[in-house]
Structure formats: structure tokens, C-alpha cells
């Protein structure tokens, strides 16, 4: 499973189409430990690149096909945080 996801992630990283920037407002993050947790779960997602995480916020570039909004939300919520809102902009 892990292997296939990673390979897929590498394969799609050159695509221009379907790539959008997202800024996620995240509730429940208080410190660097939370930042590392959010990083850890998001960086494993295929289709997520240019990831930057701070307390309360994550910025990334997402391939809509591989990492749609619902996937981003579910991933972060499984780690114990809440996604308040996601701002999308063209990549």
C-alpha cells in the first residue's frame, strides 16, 4: 500500500493540470508537536506537495484528483485536529 502511494505521488508531481494551492485553517493545534503531527500525516498523502505547516495553518499544493478537499479534511481529522476552512487558489 505504502509503496504504491509513494510511487504514485512521485509520478504525478510533474503535472501542471489539476494542481491548486490550498490554505487550511486548522483548529486544535497548539504547539510544535501539533505542527509535526500535521506534517507527518499530510506529507504521506499522494498528490500533496510544497507542504508548509505552522500552528493553526497548513499551506500546500494539491492534485485535485489525488487529494481532494474531503481527503485533506479526513486526514487531518483522523490525527485529532479540526479543519475550520480551506481556501483554494490557482497554482
Amino acid at each position: 500500500m505504502v509503496a504504491r502511494r509513494t510511487l504514485a505521488g512521485e509520478r504525478i508531481s510533474g503535472y501542471a493540470r489539476g494542481m491548486r494551492n490550498a490554505t487550511l485553517a486548522i483548529d486544535g493545534m497548539t504547539c510544535g508537536g501539533c505542527v509535526m503531527s500535521v506534517k507527518r500525516v499530510l506529507e504521506r498523502l499522494p498528490g500533496v506537495t510544497a507542504l508548509q505547516v505552522d500552528v493553526g495553518e497548513a499551506r500546500l499544493t494539491a492534485d485535485e484528483a489525488l487529494a481532494p478537499e474531503a481527503t485533506l479534511r479526513a486526514t487531518i481529522e483522523r490525527a485529532g485536529f479540526t479543519v475550520e476552512e480551506i481556501d483554494w487558489s490557482p497554482a
Binding site: 505504502v2 504547539c31 485529532g80
Partner: protein, 708 residues
Amino acid sequence: MDRQRPPNLLAGERSPYLLQHARNPVAWEPWGDAAFDRARREDKPVFLSVGYSACHWCHVMERESFDDEATAAYLNAHFVSVKVDREERPDVDHAYQLAHQLVAQRGGGWPLSMFLDADRRPFYGGTYFPPAPRHGMPSFREILAAIVEAWTQRREDVRTQAAELAGTLARVATRVPAPGEPSTELLAAAVARVLPRIDRAHGGFGAAPKFPNTMTHDLLLVAAVVERGARAKDAGDAVLLTLRRMRAGGIWDHLGGGFARYSTDAEWKVPHFEKMLYDNAQLLRLALHASRLLQHRGAPGSDVAAMLGVAADTAAYLDREMRDADGLYYSAQDADSEGEEGRFFVWTPEQVVAAAGGADAEAVCAMFDVRREGNFEHGRSVLWTPRSVETVAAALGLDVEAVTAAVERARPKMLAARESRPHPMRDEKCLAAWNGLALGAAADLAATVGDDAAVASARGALLRWRDVGFATGRLAHAVKDGEAYGRAFLDDLGGLAGAALDVFEATFDGAALGFARALLDEVLAHFVDAASGGLFFAADDAEVVLHRAMDPSDHAYPGGVGLATMALLRAADLTGEARYRTAAERCLAASVTSAKDHPLGMGSVLLAADRAARGPMTVVVVGDASRDDVRAMLRSARTWLLPHRTLVCATDEAHAAALGVDPSWMQGRSGGAGGAPVAYVCRGTVCQRPAADLDGLATVLRAALAPV
């Protein structure tokens, strides 16, 4: 061995084990193209003999057969004889042990005796062969004659056998297991399977002979703090029982500290006396962890101190007898001296009187079970403490204090007396993997007890490995007499990277973390199977011995896959670099299926898989590690048994970045007024509130460790 005889081709080797055979009448050659080229030219089969310096039966076979002129003459006439030190060439050993297993349909061992053709393909083999037929076992000479007969009269059969075996080996050695996924259930399932196999009377697994099996105990210790209720208590109790019974047994060196390799009986009484670096390194760490478990359970301070003493005495033994001038660790000490097994370690009552003095001798003999008739061989006794000091005192009509004092007075005197005996041989090559296990454990212990000199010594040894063992930018397998040689295997890189991370967590010296990254970058560049994500045992540019093998199993020490994946995960947690985590997860996915089926043989993989699934337990101390109050906070954190610990100390984001630590760890986190430390604890994705003093830290850690 005959000092007058001209040496054979082993005389130019570095391995102490090979040098021991340099004056055998057998015309030994080292492993290499030259030997196999000669076999082809002269149309002879190759006799491959694999052993190591502390191997009792290897010495026996040498005395009986390899030092025998007639046997040597026969070998020299009909064979090309190749000698390999398994510790120098674990790849050769693994490949032909597997071949032996297929030929013999049972596990191998040492000495390994294999017969190969000039293409290095095995066609027959065994382990130890006696000089004369014994218990239905053919003699070595009979085996040799049978091989020569087959080689000269039935060559086609030999070819067929070699080809068939090569085919089977190829299938077995390159089998790709079904992929799985690390999960926290793996640990629970493994513990449920191994706990019923604990010897409830004496600790350890199985009956006789009994090996320490440290990797399985490591798993039980994690379970003791992450599982709940009876299962957690059972797992922790099992480890404490094993360590206490080993400490009371003859497998423990009651005078010098440290553990012998294994016990010939179920009660740890009579050991096989050789001492291996890897056992002592692992047991040192296990005892340190066990002392943390005792403190976690609120055990009396004397119990915690006694367990910590096992770790400290083992470290003291290693420092005293097993380190070279640069602080690197030697490999092993032999069992035999003066031609007798264990002679160095055993005592008669007269010897105790002579060393300890008549007044204390009675109490000492009673305490250590030194008897007139001997509890071992030839009227000599192995020191062990089967009876408590209370029982001994009552039997002698003495105070407990009097017996304790007599033993404490006698111990250094007996150690000094023993020092004047002829010593067993010491194997003075320093192996990267085993050094990693030892100096990592030593660094963790030293930082925990606040022994600055020992922390500095571990750091010095690590940097010596970097400057000498890694001078070419690729890690060497071994260092001997200050010179690096051989190409590192996966366990060398994983083991030493783990040690570098331990030294980092003991010193917060960015150089240690940098070295860990360099070693792991070598793993990523040269050991990864792109197809499965698994990690090979040997590098992509190393000699291929039969097949490029992947072996996720532990042997007497953790396997390369377990060591490397654990180090990759730890480095990923500290540095925030996803590529380390990705590589570890891919490799674990390729390894966990077999680990699930063989929990007793793959403890180190299961431990890494548990870290991958559960995430680290992280303590970030914001402060300057040279300040006393910051050091006190760090030391306090180290006394806890934190499952999959990551420990960071930095003043701010810029400082963390300068150390090579992901500055994200420091976000939203600040120190106290005037530089006072504040500790931030996270377990998995759950963060605790900050702790500004030692009581606060204890409260927070207790909360974080409570079952979730």
C-alpha cells in the same frame, strides 16, 4: 599450532580469527577470486570453513583436524581450502548457512563446513565433524574422502546437485513476501504469542541451552508501557524476572560485570563463558530500560538502583576490558584459556581463601556457591548467587550486613587475583554494527546517570567512527588497530546511525545528528530495492555472494532491517525529513508479514513497525543544555521509560535549525523567565501542557504514559 611452520595465506589478514589459523598445516586461503581461480585451474572442489574467534567448537575442530598433519595433507592435495571469519563476512556466512539449511534440512551453526565448486555453488555441507566417527556422525576424513570420490568418479552428480541447490537458493533467497502495513496490533499479537513461552521459574525463553533473546524482551518492555492491565504487567514482569535471574546466575560475571553468551542450563547457572560485545551492549540497554520501568511502577529506590547497577556494571566491564585506545569496542572474549573452557572464570575454595583471606572466605564461598566438590568441572565452581544474602546469613549464623560486607571486601581482591591468571583471547577487531549497539547504549546510560566523562567518551568514539570508519564517505565494516577496512553492511549503517542518534539525544551536538544523516543517506543511496522498497543486506556495489539477499531476521543481535528502519524513523522524527520516513515505511511494509509470523525471530522489525504505527513520544526541552537547570530537566526526562522516545533540547527555532532539528518542533514554544527550562511532551498527535519544573514534568509524563 606450530610457530616454526611457514605461514599460509591467512598471515596477511586482519581478522584475529583468520590469524589464529595462519600456521595451520592446512594451506588456507582467504575468501576471494584467487582461491576460486585456483580451484578452477586445478579442477579441485573448495572446502569452505566459516567460524569466529569465540566459537568453542571452531577451536575444537581446529585442534582435531586442521592442525593434524595427515588431514591437512589430504585437504591440500585434493581441495582448495578457504577460511572465513563470519564476523568479517556476515554476507558469506548468511548465504552458505542458508545453503546448509537446504542441504541438511536443519539449522546450521559454527564451524560451518561447506563444499563448493569453482563457481562458488555449494553441493554438500555440514557443521562440526569429529576426527573419528562418533554417535553415527561420520569423521571429517570420511567426509573428505566421500567428496573426493564424488568429485572424481561422479562429477555429473555433483553438477546436478550444485545446480539444483543453486535453483532452490535463488528462489528462497530472493523471495518477496506479501506486503503488509505496520499497525499497533502487531505488537499486541506478538506479545500474546511470546508471553506463554516465558520460563516462569527462571525467566528467558525455552529450556536449555538458554540465550538472552534480548530483542524479544525489548518488545515486552514497550508493551509494558503501551498495553493495558494484566498484559502490560505480565510483559514487564517477564523482563524483570529474566534480568534478575540472569544477574543471579553464572551467566553474569559476579567479579568483573557483563554477561557470557548463553547458559547451558535453564537456570542461567553454567554458561558458555565467551563474552560477546553485542550481548553486553543489548543487555546494558535492556537493564537501563528495566530500571526505568521500575521507577515508572513506583518500585523502591533500592530496586531501581540494583537494576541500574546491572547496566552500570556492564558498562564498566566494557570500558575496562573491551575498548581500544580510541574508545572503539572490541568484538569478543573467548571462553577458553590454558586449554580449558571457563578456566579464567572458575574457582576452588582454596583459590577464594588465597584471594579474599581466610576470614571472609566462608561467607564468600557460601554466597557464590563455591563448593569443595565444585559446581562445575574439575572441582571448580562457577560463581553464582542461588541463595539470597538473608538465607546465606541465616545458614552461617551471621548478620546480613556481615555477609554483604565480606562479599564487598572480597570482590575487588578476587577480581585482582583473577587478573593475574592467563587471559582468554580477545578479538580486537571493532565492528561498526556492534559498536553502534554498544556506544549508543553507553551514551544513553551515561546521560541518564549524569556521567559527563562517559557521555564524552561515547561521543568521542562516535566521531572516531566518522573520521576513521567513514573517511571515504562510505562506512567501513570494521576498524582494527586504527585502520578501517571492509564495506559496511546494512546492520553496520543502521546500528551506527542509531548510536549517532543516541549520542545526539545525550549531547545535542549537531555533529552527531549530521553523522546519522550521512549514514542513512548511504542506506537510501545503496541498499534500497526500488521494486519492493525492501532493504538489501549488502550495498549495490558490493560483491554478490550467490544472491543479493534481503534478510529481515534478527540473529543473536538485531538484523539490519530492524536497525535501519528504526534509525530512519528516529531521524525522520528529529529532522522532519519525509524521505527517511517514506523509506522506513516502504521497507517495513515489505517486512511485517514475515515478522507477524515469526515474532521471536524478528523483534527488531516489530519494534520499528510499532514506532511507525504509534508515532514517537517526544520531549522538547526549550533551554540551553549547558545550564544546570536545563540539564536537570533533561536527566529527569531520561529516567522515564518513554516508548519510542525522541528527545530535543534547543533554545529557539534558529538554534534547532542549526542543530539539524526540524524548527517546527519549536513553534509556539518558549522557555521560562531568565532562561529557565520548559518541557513540552507529545505522544503521537496528543500534546501535553508545558512543564516548567521537575514535578510538573513528572505529572505530565505520567499523564502522557497513561493508557489512551
